[in-house]
Amino acid sequence: MRIKPMVSFIIRDLKLMTRDKTFVFWLVAWPLIWIFMTAYIFVPPTGDGGTIVLNLGIVNLDSSQTPLNGSSLIKILEEAEYNDSKLFNVKLYQSEEEALRALRRGELDGVIVVPEGFGYAVINPVEKARLHAYVGSRTPESAQISSSIIIGFLERFSEGVSFKMVENAVNIIKWLPISEEEKLWFNATVQGIMRPLDLTVDHVSPEFFEDRVRTLGWYTIEAIGMMFLYFGFNSGAILVVSEKERGTLRKLFSTPLTEGEFLVGSFLSQLTTLLISALILILVGVSPAVGARIVLDPLNPIHLLAVAFMVCGALMSMSIGALVSLLSKTVRGASGMGTVLGLLLSFTTGIWFPLEWMPQPVRLLAVIFPPAWSIETSRRILVFETFAETLILDSVKIFSSTAILLALALLTYRIRIKQYAES
């Protein structure tokens, strides 16, 4: 096999990369748009982009002149925070009907009605203070979220009120002729009855949400994976049929070029294009403009293995594209099928969206889809620096599936070349 013809294929296609605007758009611009959208919209550098803020309508009918009345409840709601971000946008309404109309129009996520005498009821141990809440339900998900936040907040508020009342009760009994020990016992007992369970809660995010820079690293590798899939599928699918439609196939095979040189040359050229694009995406991803964390130490063999996994991902995508080429005899058909299938699979195999977000049956796709293994494994190494215990098994899986898919692709192309040259 001669090197010169294969290099000429690479040079030929690099010129396409620099001259065809559509090519550049899909190869570089489109994945970059996604990386920047992620960095500035989905995972913004500052602010409350990750926290849900509810629009809450309050109908305050309480005119009690007590420390904890309707007005102080509104103040508490306005100041309530989660993860240093405001939890509620509070809007006041004069009547329950007016607030409910706004809720039905979808302007609010919930309404709380504070009845007359609320403030007096709070400090009266023999009377229960009442509050009524309405939760909006534009979608089942939004209803679930609004309900949890509003009810959760009000329960914590109720608990706070209870403690205040216990404190009052303890202040009363301190005048009774009982020992200090008995007073402490009474206090602890009542508090124990109120809060029998000492619940502690810690939030543990999925690995990719650990911190912003890693999240961006995750999404940068994802953009590369997505590009590999739709572009690799596409270029693999049109590799032979485009030569036929252009009228160059017969000229190529009338030269001393062998089928093997053509296939290896074309494959290497497509691979070079994909890897250059991947390098550009990584460089932009780790640049200050995006700020993703991707660790690539050329002296670290594990990191080099991750790069090899990415190369395998590109090769497997092109090979699957070759199989797609069996379904169409035109560039238009093959290209359309390759792109659509590539995008679809990038969304459903844990490459674009984290697998944890996928319904259980869809996760099966990632389990059986080899390019997803290579992207995921290299992402673990380059972004999270976790060298999984299954690294050897993963390597065997990735390298062997690459070899099998490449063999199938070469077989497919040989069939296609023969068909097209003969037709």
Binding site: K15, T248, S254
Partner: protein
């Protein structure tokens, strides 16, 4: 056999039930211009694809330059120009030349030098740096010719090389081909332009419906198959069909083409006045009447009963 550049023996090619080539045999000698003429779909391109090593025959044997065209070392000595210009649209014409030169493993500068000479010779230097996607159909054809001639080959296979070229450019290209032949290059060419075949070919093969129906020099073919003379009658345009019908009722070999009626005759001195008389009796108004020498078109008419462009 060892001296023959191309030796085809009983070449057949079928696509399912369609026979594209039917037991075609011929030989091409060194430094010869061997031209196939035949209508579209006659099987010329299929035959060229086989000779160029792109397509395998269903049966028969083919030897090119002493070897098999399916062996890359044989193809190293062949330059093939398919009917469709084989250009990559995002490359300039010279970059296309570079690309194909590298597939041969030739020195890029040597091929470039030859290409530059060809651009100059044809007076189209500006095409060298133009993107192929920006070329007109004729310019693409010209660029493809340069692409094929720039390769130092022993056998040039040219499928309809001058289609879409203007007459002046066609003459320049034919001149270049003659120069190639004088440099000991053998040319195998397909065309449906008979004047081109007659002007350039040492030998002509007539192919129709996948069969090689005649072979020889243009003069030999005309001597064997064409009449001594052809009467060319040009009636007023609205009376062409009428004139043709009148003459067909009298003579068998009457054909209409391009507003003219051609009558194959063995004795023009006798038939010319008769023709004028008959058409005059039928009140056919004539613009001109002439007696011309037969061409390869007339040979094809005689052999197939059809014109090349039909």
């Amino acid at each position: 056999m060892g001296q023959e550049v191309v030796a085809a023996q009983g070449i057949s090619k079928s696509y399912n039930s369609v026979v594209a080539l039917d037991a075609v045999s011929f030989t091409v000698r060194p430094s010869e211009v061997y031209v196939f003429i035949g209508p579209n779909g006659a099987g010329k391109s299929t035959l060229f694809n086989i000779i160029a090593g792109v397509m395998k025959p269903t049966s028969g044997s083919i030897r090119v330059l002493g070897g098999s065209p399916f062996d890359p070392s044989t193809r190293l000595k062949i330059s093939y120009l398919p009917a469709t210009p084989p250009l990559y649209p995002w490359l300039t014409v010279m970059e296309n030349v570079d690309f194909y030169a590298s597939l041969y493993g030739f020195n890029r500068n040597t091929v470039r030098q030859e290409a530059k000479w060809l651009f100059e010779k044809l007076g189209v230097q500006e095409l060298a740096t133009r993107l192929s996607s920006k070329l007109s159909t004729g310019q693409m054809k010209l660029a493809s010719i340069i692409l094929s001639l720039a390769i130092e080959a022993e056998l040039l296979i040219l499928d309809e090389p001058t289609t879409a070229l203007d007459p002046a450019m066609r003459r320049s290209v034919l001149e270049l081909l003659r120069k190639k032949v004088s440099n000991r290059v053998t040319i195998l060419m397909a065309t449906h332009l008979v004047d081109e075949a007659e002007g350039l070919a040492n030998r002509v093969a007539i192919i129709d419906k996948g069969k090689l129906i005649a072979e020889g020099s243009a003069e030999e073919l005309k001597k064997l198959y064409a009449p001594p003379a052809v009467l060319v009658i040009k009636p007023v345009p609205e009376q062409v069909e009428n004139a043709s019908a009148v003459l067909k009722s009298r003579w068998g070999n009457v054909y209409s083409c391009n507003g003219e009626v051609h009558v194959h005759t063995d004795d023009p001195d006798e038939d010319l006045p008769k023709t004028i008389l008959i058409l005059g009796e039928k009140r056919v108004r004539m613009l001109s009447v002439s007696v011309v020498k037969p061409t390869l078109e007339d040979v094809f008419l005689k052999l197939t009963g059809r014109r090349l462009e039909e």
